[in-house]
């Protein structure tokens, strides 16, 4: 009961977070058919900035805390989650949709959403809850395994002639999955932050820290516009897939909270780990799936992760997961 009250309070306080409100504003602009638009190059600038800043900040923190065995265990758990989630998702999905769509959606939900992670970091900062820099590394490590697992599943379960084996190369795929732009930038910035002296880090700090919340707000306005434009495609997805887009994050969150508890993560780190597991990709995975499983309907997996799972996570998920973690960890 008390838990429930706390939860509602958290939910409300999250709803009144400017960044979240700007996300609503973006969605509203689409629904009101406003001509508000953000050029694609600006979206790219903001996402480059956010990835660089979150990576750099994480690296600086990691430089202070050092790399311990515990950290490596958490990173391993992160990679495993990203590899296992697609498997169970795939077998659920096969019950009601085609193999190629199933594999693509499974990969989508095994991978992560950097924007959700970044919003979670801001959410924690607003509540003065500390989190660790190495969680950024966990995020980077979770982007790609799901792509590879998704493709293995697809190759195992789809009929032969669909595969057109000639034009396919595993080595190319793995390189693309691991060196995709956002993974590269996050890992690079993390390492640079790690190697930077305090003085250098301080000279970057207005850029990487003070500006962060403002850019995130503008970026979530953009995400609201992008997600809002996808709402129309929800009817194509159908009830089952929409339910999937809410339930799978919840299941993943429960598993993640359980693991966090086992690994004895701090509350902040547990939230970030949970959010990573609960989030779904709409940048790296769609690009990879489009090229490697072109038969899959891109509109389906993009819409599910962008128009359902993303809003769910940043609006309801964040406070819900935090409340649960606080309750479990008591």
């Amino acid at each position: 009961m008390m838990q429930c009250i706390m939860n509602t309070e958290l939910l409300l306080s999250n709803l009144l977070n400017p960044a979240v409100m700007f996300f609503f504003l973006g969605m509203l602009a689409v629904l009101a058919r406003s001509d508000l638009e953000i050029p694609q190059s600006i979206s790219k600038l903001m996402s480059l900035y956010l990835l660089l800043a979150i990576g750099f900040k994480g690296g600086v923190e990691l430089g202070h805390s050092g790399i311990t065995g515990d950290i490596l265990v958490t990173l391993l758990a992160a990679v495993l989650m990203s590899a296992i989630v697609p498997v169970y998702c795939f077998f659920i999905l096969r019950k009601f949709i085609s193999t190629h769509d199933g594999a693509a959606i499974a990969a989508t939900y095994g991978s992560i959403s950097a924007v959700t992670f970044i919003t979670a970091v801001a959410f924690l900062e607003a509540m003065d809850i500390r989190s660790s820099g190495y969680m950024v590394a966990a995020m980077a490590l979770m982007e790609s395994p799901a792509i590879i697992v998704g493709l293995i599943l697809y190759r195992m379960y789809s009929e032969k002639d669909e595969n057109d084996v000639d034009s396919f190369s595993w080595s190319k795929l793995i390189r693309e999955a691991c060196f995709n732009g956002s993974v590269f930038l996050i890992v690079g910035s993390l390492i640079i932050g790690f190697l930077s002296t305090d003085k250098h880090a301080a000279s970057m700090s207005v850029f990487t820290n003070d500006l962060f919340k403002g850019v995130l707000a503008l970026f979530l306005l953009d995400m609201g516009l992008i997600a809002g434009r996808r709402l129309g495609a929800l009817t194509d997805a159908g009830f089952k897939l929409i339910a999937f887009s809410v339930l799978v994050p919840l299941i993943n969150a429960v598993i993640a909270i359980f693991i966090s508890n086992m690994l004895d993560l701090s509350i902040g780190d547990a939230l970030l780990f949970t959010v990573l597991c609960a989030s779904a990709s709409y940048i790296a995975v769609p690009a990879a799936m489009r090229l490697s499983i072109p038969q899959a309907n891109a509109s389906l997996y993009v819409t599910m992760s962008l128009a359902v799972t993303f809003p769910f996570n940043i609006i309801i998920g964040l406070p819900l997961y935090l409340a649960t973690i606080q309750w479990v960890m008591l």
């Binding site: 732009g181 516009l225 434009r229 940048i283 769609p286 690009a287 489009r290 891109a298 509109s299 993009v302």
Partner: protein
Amino acid sequence: MGDVMKPVKRIEIIIDSLDLKSCLQELEKTGVSGYTVIKDVIGNGDRGTRSGDMLNDTMKNSYILIACEESEVKMITDALRPKLKRFGGMCLVSDASWLLH
């Protein structure tokens, strides 16, 4: 005017932006050395709307224009057909005259 103009074929290709790089490599392999590209193009077709408003190049097309000899057309279209089959897109061939310079 005959001696300053040369009849050529004009090939227009619409292809998924994600596949542009590999498509150009393919074309270069078939011996195409001249082409012009418009990177950001959007559109609608059998495989749905490609509105170009995602955070990366997913759901976006690119446009390739090639002026070539009639004899080269078959080689080019043969190289393109499997790509178009796989990723969707469009290829138009028309006639034009090339201004010699």
